[in-house]
Symmetry: C2
Subunit: 204 residues, 2 copies
């Protein structure tokens, strides 16, 4: 679990203030990059949206590529943390998946492979790898959840990682605004669950 | 069914030659745009990949945005035609979906909403609409297929368009090279079908 963001009680005001600016830059950058891609978003645009100067961005991040890497990995870490909490607090599999689905569908964003293919020529191997590692932790979390459900004979045996990626991929449908309905999460989770449950779907 | 590409028998040689160059440009452009996005791909790059000059591209297409529109809609029309043929020739629902899934997974490409969000500031409303119309015909084709299966009591009642978009979205998993296995299509179709069939999945 990532707790970098939690501030230690004795931390001085100045550092707290800096952390806050850095967080604003990261969240704004992630939102812009995930909406429009890497190249179309300029540091100018990010600094304007954050109401800071470009040198402030360069004070915190050495380059646009580095900002992209940190913004996207931080976003993935937050999604991971949030997903983990939702699954842990849910009373059963369906409730957990439904909460995760609703959170994802309410925050539609770029399909990561499409985004990375556009961005990769501007990024170093190391930057791409860090992003993939952060993304992978979300799949691992879901895969663990599915593995446990298989061990408890709730889901039929399958590759847990494939189920994690299938479930996550299904959430990309949230990008299609026209299909969005209040019931979309429930409908998608129902298809997924009936498709993966052990035994008859009539038992749901 | 789109048959624009079919040449009328009396068409002169010159036109045939021109059509062929145009097709090469369209296919190459579609492949590059779908791989890297709109802005990162230059007309220079497309003309080089096609072994033609930039003026040749401008002879056929008035602008990069127009080339993008025609390339992407033509690709969607081809996917539509191909999908339609696969579904029509299949002996049953599972076979049809499996063939469509295998064709899609073997040709991973950009998730269209992510691509359009990156490209939209360079495109006119009309260009975006044409692309969406062409894409929608693929969903309509699948939705018709699902509607028919519902009427024949093979699939349980659901929104056919939602099923079409869910099925198509699941194919985005093909973008993740690391999960690709010879059985991926079969595994995804099985989850989808068990999730949507009327009655017990044990009957599959």
């Amino acid at each position: 679990m990532n707790i970098d963001i939690q501030r230690s009680p004795g931390r001085p005001k100045q550092a707290e203030h800096e952390l806050s600016i850095q967080e604003v830059i990261l969240q704004t950058a992630a939102q812009l990059f995930m909406s429009h891609g890497y190249e179309p978003v300029s540091l100018q645009q990010i600094s304007k949206a954050c109401n800071v100067t470009k040198p402030t961005i360069y004070y915190h991040f050495t380059s646009k590529a580095e900002l992209f890497k940190v913004a996207v990995t931080t976003m993935f870490k937050n999604v991971h943390q949030h997903t983990s909490g939702l699954l842990r607090d849910a009373e059963h599999l369906e409730e957990g998946l439904l909460k995760v689905a609703e959170a994802r569908l309410a925050n539609p964003h770029a399909e990561i492979e499409t985004l990375l293919r556009e961005a990769e020529k501007f990024l170093s191997e190391e930057q791409i790898q860090k992003i993939r590692e952060a993304e992978n932790q979300i799949y691992e979390e879901l895969a663990d959840y599915f593995r446990e459900a298989m061990e408890r004979n709730i889901l039929r045996k399958n590759n847990p990682m494939l189920l994690a990626q299938t479930f996550s991929t299904m959430m990309v449908i949230g990008n299609k605004n026209e299909t969005y309905s209040a019931n979309l999460g429930k409908e998608i989770v129902e298809i997924f669950l009936r498709g993966t449950l052990l035994g008859s779907p009539a038992s749901m």
